[in-house]
Amino acid sequence: MAGLPDHILRRSAEARAKAEGRDVEEVFAELKGEAPPKPAAPAEPETSAPDAEQPPAAESAEEPAEEPAAAPSGATTMRDLDTESQQYGVPVALLQRAIQARAKREGRELVAAGAPAATTEAGAVTPTPAAAAEPTPRAAPPAIPEGVTTQRLLTVVKAGAIQQVKSTPTDKVSVWPHLLAIEFVALMVVLAGLIIFSVFVDAPLLEFANFNEQPNPSKAPWYFLGLQELLSYFDPQVAGVIIPGFGLVGLAMIPYVDKNPAVKPSDRKLAIMIFSFFVFAAAILTTYGSFFRGPGFNFTFPWTDGIFFDF
């Protein structure tokens, strides 16, 4: 029970005394593991000082000053860091650090470990006389007696192990009206453009389909003309199957191949270069197949022989 502050012990003693119909002081003493106390019984802090053989006596100096109201016996207040460490599962080093930090915060001088300096230390601090004058008001201790620490260091958790750093809050705007207005205008512009274009340019309709008369040149739809252009350089297996097949699969695999997490263009120059190369290659091949291929899919200049291309 040494670890519990006296005011808490007293509270549970009162509760138990009430339940068992016994005397409060008797139960209290029992809980503390002492003989039934007489008001004068608690040892003065000074008496604890000679216990110099307790290994880290550093904090024993400040402990009496810490809990003067409770006026505990020397045995309970003396801090045995090893025992405490085992009891609470807190490393000794951390306990020492906490003690040092508290001493520093309260502007007190920390006594070197092992030194029996308690007399000078505790004597210098004001609460000691108060502790001496204490015995009578013990019957009704305040909820948290002055100078009693009500919290202790349980453990220190390294930041990052448990803490998840969420993305920082970003600047946001309402979709209505900001985004919807822009989208609406964009749709209307495209719709208007499409209608106007459709009014003036008719979709092609050539003669009735004739299986016996292949037009020269015969071209695929424009988005396949890059492939058709490749067909004039490579074996059909390569140009018609392997390149588009690998192209499509390669396209789908981009996120799994590109492991670079950066999104800034300056940090992913290689990826941008490779992708741009293929986009430009496709654009050039498509343009070439569309406008620079005439009868027999031979090379022509569109401005000399005309355009052999239908949408």
């Binding site: 900001h178 209608i195 009014v199 389909a209 059909p236 018609g240 199957v241 588009p244 999104v263 263009p265």
Partner: protein, 258 residues
Amino acid sequence: MANGNGRVGLRQRLSQAGDQMRSSQLWSSIFRPGSPFRHGYTDSPRNRSYVIMNNVLYHLHPVKVKRHAVRLSYTLCLGGLSFFLFILLTITGIFLMFYYRPTSPQAYLDIQALSTDVAFGQLVRNMHRWGAHLMVLTVFLHMARVFYHGAYKPPREFNWVVGVVLLLLTLLLSFTGYLLPWDQLALWAVTVGSNMALYSPVIGDQVSFALIGGVQITPDTLLRWYVLHVLFLPFIIVVFMAVHFWRVRKDGGISGPL
């Protein structure tokens, strides 16, 4: 509410009628709370949220987006425009279906009749064709935009894959539609295009056979591609679009800023 003559003016009557209509049960059952069309709508941050939250658009848009996302230069609206063009193509396509029969001489004659006998027939056909080409373009540009913004990086990898499937489906939709006018352009463009499938290793013949319903393009191919074009592929693409849009939201909305 009276004017100088002691009589109720037309303007006031109209505005009263408008108020009455917007306060009616029918009206407020159609427009959910927060709708700008509702009686007593005021522009407030709360109502701006309700406009989206109480709207079918909530399936597409969150209540708020990052500020850079509304800059036109970031997305150029390419994804949204692709979707819009798909809807437009569905509408014009349904119109065209009323006048089109996928059989051998009739298909061509129907297209001819569309441009001469049907009100707005030619315009709608033009819109359908140009819109289709434009959609191929916007889908492709949307893909390029997403790449250059690095928007395919985790956690959006799979949505990129879905997007590639959507690009392929868009091309297939356009390609199957190409045959339907049943003119020389359609027949031979599709012949050239589908001949490429013949070169597939091992199963080339089978793929080509399944695709065109025979060893060469016949009127049967027309029916086959018609069904693919108006039912099968739109169905598939809608499923993939639903996943695509849903993943955009689930993966944290629009990417960036750079």
